[in-house]
Amino acid sequence: MRFRFKPPSLDFPLGTDGFGRDVLSRLLHGARLSLGIGLSVAVLSGAMGTLVGVVSGHFKQFDSLLMRCMDALMAFPAIMLAIGITAVLGPQTASVIIALSVAYVPRTARIVRAAVLVIRETEYIQAAKVAGASHARIVFRHLLPNSIGPLVVQMSFVFSYAILAEAALSFLGIGAPPPTPSWGNIISEGRDRSIEAWWIMLFPGIAISLAALGMNLLGDGLRDVLDPRQKTEG
């Protein structure tokens, strides 16, 4: 216990916490969980959002029903919804992933639906119907590949929101349970001694900011690359 609350030094570049654990090691190990949750949420909510968006955009008869459900979900702030769902499922990594995925489905669904609504009116969809294509073929060959641009951009933003939201949930004590480190629960554990042992909260905080910023920049970059208006006609 002689290594408790050591400030950053050559031996412990980012200092140690109340149990004498190296903050740098925990930070690196926590990246696995935080980024893993971010990625899982982006992929899961992307998949669910695409399903809902394509169904409501392409099959008009389900549109109002599905979109009103999405509106209802959207009426809750994502964090509130996630807190509610984790409270029901219990504090574990899987329930954090499920909760955040559900919370971010509506935005993705709306974006995919909007893209599908535009694409389904284009002449190449009409041409595909004229050629005798079935619904499945139109969806998988024509609608999905053409709406992938906005979807990927949205997923990268969800990635960064999810990292932030996971940190917030862990901070509130309903995220991934300790001792498994995540950036959120490292901050949470450092909270009590935040003035004396500032390094425990500062460095994971910086990591979260950088990761979120990075994903946002990636999203912006992807948007520029995938925006058809930016494409040069050859």
Binding site: K60, Q61, T122, E123, Y124, Q126, A127, A128, K129, V130, A131, G132, A133, S134, R137, R141, H142, P145, N146, P228, K231, E233, G234
Partner: protein, 329 residues
């Protein structure tokens, strides 16, 4: 109408659900297309030409459209055909090309992918065979260097080239009927002529019938044998192409012909038909063209004229002109 007809449209009425109720886009349209015949469907924007064409393949959104009448293709009513048989018809027996070649090709698939897709939907052939066929088709529609072009994405082709690709896709399964919805409208005049020549050659080689939709009477004069003129959702005249130009039996057809600029004399103002199409929500008591007609007589406002059929083929909805012409009914 004879047994030689490939397509027979009978009393077609199409209504769309608009913001203030159902509106009639096409009313009681009847015409036929014979085997190996080219029929032109003429009219200004909003006259119901494209709606009629889309009805042939039953492509309207079901929930917001009411369709009455019959559309018989080889004796089968396409309006009541189950979905799987309709899909067999679409692209197999009846093909369609659209106005805007820029947006008729899927931007994320290569030319090869798109032609192969059409082929594999209707024929049981391997991917390699389909690819060879795709290259042959591109050569057929005279795309230079087809073997290389086939792997390109649509944005690397010019408008004329894309229209050729569309035509290649349309004829891929050797359809019996080709519906061409303003196939040359979006193209340069020189390209227009090439595309029309190409269509004519293909029509001869494949023994296709063609339903050509256009508002360009120049195209009509060059391409078709028979013309159906539509105005405000109704057929107002049907005539063999030569008679339409020599002796139009409806003032609207006359107006369209007058609007073609003369080739060898200078004109300062192009001739046009005053006014615009009537509001589709409006209820008509008289002739729909009455507000714009220069040959109006009081009777035109009293009752809606019905189509008068001539004994030697063709019809007109203008009793005044028919009276004057002395053509046999």
């Amino acid at each position: 109408m004879t047994s030689n007809d490939l397509l027979r449209v009978n009393g077609l009425t199409v209504e769309f659900l608009g913001e203030s109720g159902w509106l009639t886009a096409v009313e009681d349209v009847s015409f036929s297309v014979g085997k190996k015949e080219c029929v032109g469907l003429v009219g200004e924007s909003g006259s119901g030409k494209s709606v009629t064409a889309l009805s042939v393949l039953n492509l309207h959104e079901r929930r917001t459209t009411k369709i009455h009448g019959r559309i018989e293709y080889c004796g089968e009513n396409t309006l009541t055909l189950p979905a799987n048989q309709l899909r067999r018809l679409r692209g197999g027996e009846i093909a369609m090309i659209f106005q805007d070649p820029m947006s008729s090709l899927n931007p994320v698939l290569t030319i090869a992918d798109q032609i192969i897709e059409t082929l594999q939907l209707h024929e049981n052939i391997s991917a390699a065979q389909a690819r060879r066929r795709a290259i042959e088709l591109l050569e057929w529609v005279r795309i230079p260097d087809a073997a290389r072009r086939v792997d390109e994405y649509p944005h690397r082709l010019s408008g004329g080239m894309r229209q050729r690709v569309m035509i290649a896709m349309a004829i891929a399964c050797k359809p019996k009927l080709l519906i061409a919805d303003e196939p040359t409208t979006a193209l340069d005049v020189t390209i227009q002529a090439e595309i029309l020549n190409l269509l004519r050659e293909l029509q001869n080689e494949l023994d296709m019938s063609v339903l050509l939709i256009t508002h360009d009477l120049g195209v009509i004069a060059e391409f078709v044998q028979r013309v159906v003129v539509m105005y405000a959702g109704q057929v107002i005249e049907e005539a063999p192409v030569m008679r339409l130009f020599d002796q139009p039996m409806h003032p609207y057809s006359q107006g369209l012909i007058n609007a073609i600029p003369p080739l060898h004399t200078d004109v300062h103002r192009l001739s046009s038909i005053p006014g615009q199409l009537p509001d589709p929500y409006e209820v008509h008591s008289g002739c729909r063209f009455s507000a714009r007609c220069s040959e109006l007589v009081p009777a035109c406002l009293n009752s809606q004229p019905s189509l008068i059929e001539f004994s030697n083929g063709g019809s007109s909805r203008c009793p005044v002109r028919v009276e004057l012409s002395g053509l046999n009914r």
